[in-house]
């Protein structure tokens, strides 16, 4: 048993590493720019592209986004190894897209440098109608990756320059080399390089490594949203989720297990069909709908049934007595706990009924009856213990769910738990919090499965965890 435990715990390590890599990889592919989260509401900043670029680099650097993402880059020969050095996510996306289309990085680099060269030339050029148009257009090229759109812009710039002889003398050379550079990009496309793999080693100073180093010592970093340590935010949210889900799970099991046993014993009778119908109905009621109905009917005076508080977990004053506190908490948590309980209850009861029915038909039950044991002894000592395994399996999956929280219930009843935290964090691109939630859920899921295995062994002596024993 101990050896089995150790082996399972060791397996946690590679599993967790894979999970961290997948999580990290996904975050790299999500649309939206974490730097922009810090720079929004920056009205006037955007009117000054140079200032914006500067601010952008400052923020990107402070977030460590100027480092390569991972230990190595597996890509095709078409991509350069240091593409990450273009910190600006929009520009990097554009470069990637151009490379994907044409596969000739030297030419693309040449073209991209040409944009910068022309921009510099234009900013020093004599003011005028044409210079204005050209300047406004040239910086769009940094972001554009579609051939027709790029050509329209090159034409616009070209026409503007042609129309102004002074401007032409100042910048035509730069424009000419830019448009030639673009012609080279399109004409000398090298898609063949896309078929040759490339592997670049980036060293240990990469985003993933820096993040993992901290995670290993329990430091998930700070939330982008309010700079609080992620662990603090997780802990606050976890408390409420555990309370609500814990009560709901215990209640569900307490009601469902006897109910399942009862219906199994009275299988086929009227009690069974009534209860079964009721359970099916409960099971099929969508929880968001029930929660909303409860909210509308039982928390406002609109229908004369203002019996429960609408939302939150209650805020007892600091001098409230134990019973006052209890009352406030219970009244707040009653509806969410009900919503979490009824669905689970129906499901567990059905499972229990099924496995109990099966157990009751086994030979050993008949033997037990034949021995003259009482009905109670037959059911609880012999049949029940054998019917437990599906219920235990469910417990293994219920635990992680209890930690992850129920998004719908927490949002509707405004409970600051894990589900709500996760959704809010995803919407606000608060990646450190999302990583924290995922890692925590991963650990708990694995622990839940392990726990279920151990419980199997306890419930059923025939289950041997350690093969060698």
């Amino acid at each position: 048993m101990l050896r089995y435990l150790i082996r399972r715990l060791l397996w946690f390590v590679p599993t967790l590493v894979v999970i961290t890599i997948v999580t990290f990889g996904l975050s790299q592919r999500t649309p939206g720019d974490p730097v922009a989260v810090f720079l929004d509401n920056v009205g006037s900043l955007e009117s000054d592209p140079a200032a914006y670029q500067r601010a952008y680099y400052e923020v990107a650097q402070s977030l460590g986004l100027d480092k390569p993402a991972f230990y190595f880059t597996l890509t095709t020969r078409a991509y350069p190894r240091d593409l990450y050095k273009e910190v600006n996510r929009d520009r990097r996306t554009c470069l990637r897209s151009l490379i994907a289309q044409y596969g000739n990085w030297p030419q693309i680099k040449n073209y991209y440098d040409g944009i910068a060269a022309l921009e510099t030339r234009l900013s020093a050029a004599t003011e005028g109608q044409s210079a204005t148009t050209a300047r406004a257009t040239v910086r769009l090229l940094y972001l554009q990756d579609e051939d027709p759109v790029i050509r329209i812009n090159l034409d616009t710039i070209g026409n503007a320059i042609q129309a102004d002889s002074v401007l032409k003398s100042q910048v035509f050379a730069a424009f000419d080399s830019l448009s030639k550079a673009y012609e080279q990009v399109t004409s000398q496309a090298g898609p063949a390089k896309h078929y040759l793999p490339a592997l670049y080693w980036n060293g240990f100073d990469n985003q993933y490594h820096n993040w993992l180093k901290k995670v290993l010592v329990g430091n998930f970093g700070r939330s982008y949203a309010n700079r609080q340590p992620v662990t603090d935010r997780l802990w606050v949210a976890l408390r409420w989720t555990l309370v609500i889900n814990g009560i709901a799970i215990v209640l569900a099991y307490l009601i469902a297990v006897p109910l399942g046993v009862y219906t199994a014993i009275h299988r086929g009778k009227r009690q069974d069909s009534w209860i079964t119908t009721l359970l099916f109905m409960l099971h099929s009621l969508p929880v968001f709908w029930v929660a909303t109905l409860l909210l509308i009917f039982f928390t406002t005076p609109e229908y004369g049934m203002d019996w429960f508080p609408t939302m939150g977990v209650g805020e007892p004053s600091s001098d409230a007595s134990f019973f006052e506190r209890l009352f406030i908490r219970v009244s707040h948590l009653a509806l969410p706990v009900f919503c979490l309980t009824y669905g689970a209850l129906a499901f567990i009861a059905r499972q229990m009924r099924g496995s109990m029915t099966e157990a009751l038909q086994q030979d050993f039950v008949r033997t037990a009856r034949a021995k003259g044991l009482t009905q109670r002894q037959v059911i609880w000592k012999h049949a029940f213990r054998n019917a437990l395994s599906p219920i235990i399996t469910m417990l293994g999956s219920v635990l992680p769910a209890a930690i992850a929280g129920s998004v719908v219930i927490e949002v509707i009843f405004n409970i600051p738990g894990m589900g709500k935290l996760t959704v809010d964090a995803i919407y606000s691109k608060d990646w450190p919090v999302v990583y924290g939630v995922l890692i925590l859920s991963a650990i708990v899921t694995m622990a839940g499965i392990l726990l279920a295995d151990i419980l199997y062994a306890l419930a059923d002596p025939r289950v041997k965890l350690d093969k060698k024993q």
Binding site: A55, D90, Q129, V236, N414, P416
Partner: protein
Amino acid sequence: MMRNAIYSAFLLSLTVLFVLGGCKSDKKEQANWKRKGSDVIVRLDADPDGLNPVLSSTGYATIVCNQIFSYLLFIDPVTLQLVPQLAKSLPAVEEITSGPYAGGVAYTFEIHDEAVWDDGKPVTANDYIFTLKAALNPLVNAARYRSFLSFIKDIQVDPANPKKFTVLTNEKYILGEEAVATTLPVLPAHLYDPQGFLSAISYKDMADEAKIADMAAKDQRLKQFADAFQSPETMNNKARISGSGPYRLESWVQGQSVEVIKKDNYWGDKLADKFPALAAYPDKLVFKPIGNAATALAALKAEEIDVMADIDPKDFTDMKNDKLINDRYNLATPISLSSFFIYINTQNPKLNDKRVRQALAYAINVDEIINTLYFGLAERLSSPVLPSKDYRNTDLKEVPYDPAKAKELLKAAGWMDSNNNGTVDKMINGKLTELSVTYLISPQREISKNIALLMQDNARKAGIGIEIVSKEFPEIIASLKKRDYELSSGGRTVSPTLWDPMQSWHTQGDNRTGFGNASSDSLIEQLRITLDKTKRDAMYKQLQAIIYDEQPEVYLYAPSGRLAVHKRFETPATAMYPGFFANLIKLKD
């Protein structure tokens, strides 16, 4: 003198005074109320992202911070004029004619003698200087403010009076006074920088971008300050959050509530009669973050919140006819400072003729959108300037819905339905092109989809095909930035005071439509430094006329604010976000 020139005429169109709870409610009504007393519970959409005004960036944080901290000047809720808060009066404004900042403007402020921090120490010029220095430190995550502050080159304190100082800027700017006095509230230097890391660095050095960037790399003090200042404590810890405003932070339970309590001997109480921006009525304010609109509405009906802004238009219309709500809440629809419109890519070959863009404006039935989707709770727009502004060009009429006129304009531009498929077409570069354009909307807002469907239906009657494309918001922004789109939904908040068109309309700004040329650019550049109201208004009107003619954006509507306040209170409804000032919510006698 100049100040008068800028501010004397703000009032004109804003004299409509919305005061909630004007009439007294009868006793029978009151008997049904669950909530009594002067404590106010306010709904927020989400938790504040910390309560450090320099670091926090959401509007929710600002709503709470404004109770704890105060600014040199604030905005009057009704007139939307700048009014003194920490300062004794609006600043003395003087043009600088000589010296290194010639061509700039000097603003002289004096802070109230009574103004003190919670420990009794006076609020001084040094605190103001410290606040700006904190934001200018390149290692502090406050890049968003730096460009507002970059024109402040030096601050001189009166040697005889530590509460009096002059802010020197190196350029004229119509929003200069606002930028100087309202960008950030004043923080206590001795509490936010107890070790005095920044005190030995002069403001002048901080404002010198090259110098400070160089220093940030070499000088440890900037780093030490940034680390201490950005520690979670200054954003979340009650003991470390302290300002000169009327309230102190009592508790903050993340995701549940933020409570602020009125200070026992708040220095502003004595002055509130003369300085309305210092007034603070409720003894306690509770801010509750409630994300889900249905939950918030239920909480309102159950009287678990007193004030709720930004109510869904449909819900708001239902609430008007709901006796339960009407017995307990006053509803108000103040003007709001936001406008909605359609971005047009003026460089797109299908849309580069202004007649096509004008036709599009005629092909959209904006009144129908307002009436069926906003239930009448919005005003039409004809230009980027809201109807309530006195610098709006009133000669520009809202474009009516007129498909026939739209067809006429399209025909003049060479678009006709040659193949009789219902959509007009034209030969472009030797190819027959249908006038069918994509319109980007964000799936997060249900209403934008319905608006798009109405538009699609309207435009078809004029022979314009609209294909609705739903994209996540960040992707829409990316498309707009690289101008790789045809039409897109758009919205922006507008300044309560003057309009600085630099950002959206200058060719070098964050100009998403491709509008503008050298002459419109120079008009904009002139405009933003013209402090003379008459001259500036003429320029405003000229710019609006150009935009109206070019139609790079089709202007739709400005939704009204939708606000509910419990009947035991009265408070001015304001155009300022979120529609009310929490400190001005006053119990009725």
